[in-house]
Point group: D2
Chain length 242, copies 4
């Protein structure tokens, strides 16, 4: 059983009618419902809860954290950001969706601006798999077609991903590295592009399948935690002290 | 249940007393015994069997192939080599051990000479994990100490590994990229350095644990097979034929 | 002064009127003319010359080899293929254009099928830079627009590139990793997608600029050649011989 | 002419006699002298200068910044740290030496703890080249032997380097990824391990040669600056606005 926490800023859905129409109970609820068939223990957390719903108790018992944010990135406190970053470095999986590219924890883990091109024009996105043996692509056909999505275009200012799993083609001519893995410390990170708040992207089975695969991939294995600091030699030798 | 085939050239163990003393029934038998506790269906195959034991039936029902060879690389037929390479590209996992770096299928999959420095002097090897969240390092401490091993030293002429999992320190001063992953087509490859035929390396629990982890990692998931060739557009446009 | 040899199979241009119309003296001549302003010493070589124009003398004095082939890959001899592969591994730069993805030396250096999707429909290709600090992208705007090109689509069956420099968007909906670097031995390889024989792609300044940048990037520096084989310890220790 | 600024916290050399004995005018002076033969315009800057010597004027006219710090990382202001990080993302080369692994700008650019194992015992370090065609290894033999150095050991908590150039072997049994490249935004970063303040490492020609090579590699080429934000389509299509 994998403990999954789905974090959503949950602001658009309360104040924008066109978003409420698509996700009446919030994006997090749609994703939680979509993952319900998996053997995940799912919790949700949102910005307006105390500590944004990410108390030490919640973070310390979360195996994989899913993150969606957009218009309220700056309202996430630096303290909670630092805790999320530290937990990822200690092994918690971290799945960052769509506009989460500009979230505080993702930017801190990347060390770059995470900026990109964008356009809201309801255009077609075709997501192609460029890594056919990757577990995050399991059960996914060679492509996923989304009839209407926001465009994100390169240059996407991230470090070179450890693995590139998906690349998108947009109707207006852009491309985007849409599925990217990164390792930071003992934690695994997956960025997945689709999911603008005005489109029913998170009801789409293939999109949910990718997120579900990513949860399993990002689950922290029982690997040894690295040991740091002053260290005795494994092999004796004649020390020369200054 | 993962179908594992352990291939060993099985020559040293028949003709060299010091090897026979360590691996009386062959290296493949020691590895097979060492993996017996896992839920693997294990077969072995050796050079002198018809088609080197790698008939179409065997290859087509093998999920992960483990390979050990040294003095008889050239006796592996080009036809069987081509079949192994094709099966890896189609998804079969491939775990190449120690002197298998010079085997025909590994060299064909790498596109490089796969050459290296070496020395048989019974020196200490310390294998360090440099990728603490990788599934191949699961359950492995920060290091594995082998009291006596053959030295392999850089430059190891392989393509840049997709992932570097282990790096070795040798008593005589060399380093070596000892645990390396590669993807070729739909297949996953893991090269693991230790295992000279005169040392009891393949009885060592940590070494067997790494091999076992690698089998699970290399197991082909049920991903879509890539489609190649002439392709209709996903999105209609006005064709301009020459 | 960089010694560049441009190899072209030079078959289409002799027998297909629509190709002859675009490249009357051969693709190699167009590329050679396009690079003439650089401080390169340029030679050309073609399939029908003795040893395909790639004699030992030519190969041994070539710093960077550019390769275009398509309909006659199988007519390149295995002997010349092996010599090209060896020279690349020893340091010669190798720039593989368009349908050269299926050439014998490129496939041997990759260890994969190098297969892909394709369509000849004169559609628009937009090549985006995803690596803005890479020397191969120097002087190139964020994108190159080619009004009419053959489509190549993912999955492109290559090993994960060491560096991804360009990604293409095609009008029909596909994407393609269009600019990829690889290192093999001491040699640097750049694959660059555009250049179907029926379009005037190799007269386009941005395309020529990329090829020119790649030549400079692939030029072999005066690095130490790796040393292989039996090796004395750098640091003395007590040997334990079997 | 490449504008190089060498930044040194310059504290040890003033207060520790054994450091003063090795670097009487500061580590920065030794490095500046060592690079004097190159066509670099070299400035130095230190912690105690106003704005740590890194005024906007200095940063904006620096092509490549070299950084050495150890005991006073926390005294570097957050404001100057942010400026250095931004300049790197905009293209300034950044060469981080030895204990600079724990400097504020390096940690911010990596997104990890950058922690490691260490031991001060004057042991031998042997630095091996694992990337023989990399420009940072130009003119360097297969190895560099440093008779006495501080040990740094894995796991080194950095993101997977874009390129691994050097790996160290330490007498006490450890290994370390000693030469690592990273790209962040438009900037190139090179981390180079050796250089403890009590050893004359920065007088060693091979060490200076690596630093000099790295300066040339990290020099920002005249690549197009990425464009971000709202973007018009390259290829017209029927917009569907919400």
């Amino acid at each position: 059983m994998i403990n999954v926490t789905i974090w959503n800023e949950y602001v658009h859905e309360k104040i924008h009618d066109e978003v409420k129409a698509v996700y009446p109970d919030g994006l997090h609820k749609a994703i939680a419902d979509g993952l319900a068939g998996e053997s995940f223990a799912i919790r949700t957390a949102t910005l307006d809860e105390p500590e944004h719903g990410l108390t030490d108790e919640v973070l310390n018992t979360t195996d994989v954290l899913i993150w969606w944010g957009h218009m309220a990135h700056e309202r996430v406190s630096d303290e909670i950001t630092a805790k999320v970053v530290r937990r990822v470095q200690q092994g918690m999986g971290f799945i960052v969706l769509h506009s989460g590219h500009f979230s505080k924890p993702f930017k801190a883990l990347m060390g770059t601006s995470c900026d990109l091109k964008w356009r809201e024009a309801g255009e077609q996105e075709i997501i192609w798999c460029v890594n056919p043996s990757h577990p995050i692509a399991e059960g996914i056909d060679s492509k996923i077609v989304l009839d209407h999505e926001e465009m994100y275009g390169e240059f996407f200012d991230i470090p070179t991903p450890d693995e590139l799993v998906f690349v998108s083609n947009f109707e207006g001519g852009e491309v985007f590295r849409s599925g990217c893995t990164f390792r930071r410390g003992s934690g695994k990170i997956f960025y997945f592009r689709p999911g603008h708040e005005t489109y029913p992207t998170y009801y789409k089975p293939e999109v949910l399948k990718v997120i579900s695969n990513a949860v399993k991939w990002a689950y922290p294995a029982h690997n040894a935690q690295p040991v740091f600091g002053m260290s005795q030699p494994v092999r004796p030798f004649k020390e020369i002290l200054v």
